[in-house]
Symmetry: C2
Subunit: 427 residues, 2 copies
């Protein structure tokens, strides 16, 4: 992609309204634009990151046997009246009347819709277990939206719902999801710590929050340092559940069961929340199936959320420096930023050729072909944070090499163009 033909409106100044790092960087690097309070347009670069996260989340949901659907954003109020949550939900629910004066709402979550869906089709224990998910836009009418997409009103979220015949099976579904979340966040290059949680408004008796570790995170978290180096072999709710991990309000140094040198104190951002809530919705909405003995059973349910648009901000909070964003490769909008640092006929010809070779090899590249000074190009490229910068300059003409910079480590090496292509093909 040629930057001169792209839509990447970077800002020179820090936007005054942005109080936190990710908000500031997303605005400055041209990833989002605020349409109105708490409501954003995702610009091309932001859109690309959102889609990459979407794909990783979806792959990990598919892997554990959940099926992707899309439920509507606009829901009929009567389903919420049936579950009993319509009045309770309060002003965060965006209530709507349609042209026939029917009460509707912009879904903040979808337990009611999915329970209504499943009760129309599922009537035997043989059709369970079942897990359905969507990745879709939701709305919560926050009284004071802030921190950009970290606490916006319209947001993009993965929500999954599991239906099981008994508590054992439901617990298995819950644990599969717990492990899928650990894998999902690890794939994005994030350190995520699961912690037992109160299940809050959704209600129920088993719940975990997943917090991404970031120095600029919203809340203090305390956890066993064993969480710092998890591998897939450690993904076990039973095993990890024995380790200490709590949020600020639950941590008391006086009663903390682990020693100071085992305790890590960091800041975190909640990016996932899973709930097991039993038969709350199946009973209130009369979803029942025939059991093996023919007797009706109310399925045990759970729901499982990942804040996808929030993750974009959380990744930035956990991965940036004073120059800008540092995208983990797995979610980067482009893998390579190609910079023509001389803007002369020769470097331009080489850059064009390199852009074409990389593109043809399906290595995603953003080529800064603008006639800006090298310094401007370097600082813009640091700001938007692509993982690898490839610089065509004087040495390319004298020695036939390009400079390759790792955005995270700052390490630089000179490579011939063939070696460069091989480096990125090989990965």
């Amino acid at each position: 992609m040629r930057l001169s033909q792209y839509f990447l409106p970077t800002l020179k100044e820090n936007p005054a309204e942005a109080q936190i790092t990710s908000h500031r960087l997303m605005l400055r690097a041209g990833f989002i634009n605020q349409t109105t309070s708490g409501i954003y347009t995702w610009l091309p670069m932001g859109e690309r990151v959102l889609k990459r996260i979407d794909q990783i989340v979806a792959e990990e949901q598919d892997r554990i046997g959940c099926h992707r659907i899309t439920m509507p954003t606009v829901q009929p109020a009567h389903l919420w009246q049936e579950s009993g949550r319509y009045e309770d939900y309060g002003k965060e629910m965006l209530r709507i009347k349609d042209r026939h004066d029917r009460e509707m709402l912009y879904g903040p979550t979808h337990e009611e819709v999915v329970t209504d869906l499943v009760r129309q089709y599922v009537n035997s224990y043989r059709q369970l277990p079942l897990c359905l998910y969507q990745i879709h836009w939701k709305f919560r009418d926050e009284i004071r939206p802030r921190f950009g997409v970290m606490r916006g009103r319209e947001f993009y979220m993965k929500d999954a719902y599991s239906f099981d015949i008994d508590m054992d099976s439901a617990r298995t579904a819950y644990e599969k999801m717990y492990n899928a979340y650990l894998r999902t966040f690890a794939r994005m290059g994030l350190k995520a710590v699961p912690m037992r949680a109160d299940s809050g408004a959704i209600g129920g008796d088993l719940s975990h929050e997943f917090h991404v570790v970031a120095d600029t995170g919203e809340s203090a978290i305390y956890y066993d340092k064993a969480f710092e180096n998890l591998t897939e072999a450690d993904y076990s709710m039973e095993k990890l559940g024995k380790l200490y991990a709590v949020s600020d309000e639950k941590h008391d140094p006086a009663t903390c069961p682990i020693s100071d040198d085992q305790l890590v104190s960091r800041r975190g951002i909640e990016v996932g929340h899973i709930f097991y809530f039993g038969t709350k919705y199946s009973k209130s909405m009369n979803l029942k199936v025939a059991g093996p003995d023919g007797k009706p059973i109310y399925p045990e349910m759970g729901s499982y959320g990942i804040g996808v648009s929030r993750l974009v901000a959380a990744i930035i909070e956990s991965s940036h420096d004073e120059h800008g964003i540092i995208w983990p490769e797995e979610v980067a909008p482009f893998r390579i930023g190609l910079i023509d640092a001389k803007n002369d006929a020769q470097t331009q010809a080489i850059s064009e050729q390199l852009h074409e070779r990389l593109t043809n090899a399906c290595i995603s590249v953003l080529y800064d072909d603008r006639s800006e000074r090298a310094g401007v190009k370097f600082s813009d490229m640091d700001l938007i944070g692509l993982p690898w910068h490839v610089i065509v300059g004087g040495k390319t003409l004298t020695a036939g090499t390009v400079e390759v910079k790792n955005r995270r480590t700052g390490a630089r090496e000179d490579l011939t163009i063939d070696a460069l292509i091989n480096k990125f093909l090989g990965d």
Copy 2:
């Protein structure tokens, strides 16, 4: 994917509420579920088709240099007050008040939001031409929603917006989009006929509708039979614009300029609509850029829609038979339907193995591993309409071959398993 573990709730009976073929088939084959009037949940199979169409549409927009963004579904009313459309739009606009009593709306289209976006960043003719698109959910509060997703209230749409410095450049953008539309529909296996249109509520002076030809289409269309066999070499607005193509209300046999044997009379479904409307929004919303001479210019704009969720229905209307849907390969939810027609230990082992080999070769396959009678499996597979059916049965045990059926032609051939894999790898 194993059907026994999938969520594909087919119906045995024709649903009473479905008046048209695509609606009936989408409900019966388990592609959609009505959540409330004109509002649908996309079940896993429908979701897969929607995503495949999304991808083709996106690729063809990217190819002509448009950039994908995502604008919010909920928009502030003040932008529409600025453009002057807030009062005009009438009851089809879903109007919302947020918790602070601010007037909002669920976007039926996004000219205002995108114009507001562009005026914040673009201030020089050097930044044009620019084309931005999104593929996103919209809402039109139809007084009488019907025909399933063909005329729903919440729908999925591609909308693109072009910004150009003068009319010549705007016309070039328009023609690129015109050709992209022809390519997009052709890639989905559809015959699409562009016809000059009144530009309607959006206003302006150049507009085309694209109609997909389907016997069960919503309206009669009349066109030159040259449209029946277009190739990419014919994609030229000037050339095709000379051919006759009109909708029912404009066709008059008395004045039709082409002979009866050149005239085709079919039915069509509108799936795309493109508009050039000049400076309507740039002027009313004060989007201006400095021209080459420093003087301000109001950019010339166009907008370009494709009804993505509607296309799912249109494809079915144009491609089905009395047994069910016939998916074109390019948009099929799975390429192959694998049927174990005997349900014995031997055929099951072979089917399992085949399922694994196809899956490992990245050939998408839905494996009917249920313990249903062969007849039920055959008719379900015809109903959901995967392009190729592979049947493991008696001949597999005696001759080592599987039967491959082409859903569209009904042609069958016996192939060894190696030959089968090669057939689908080769394509």
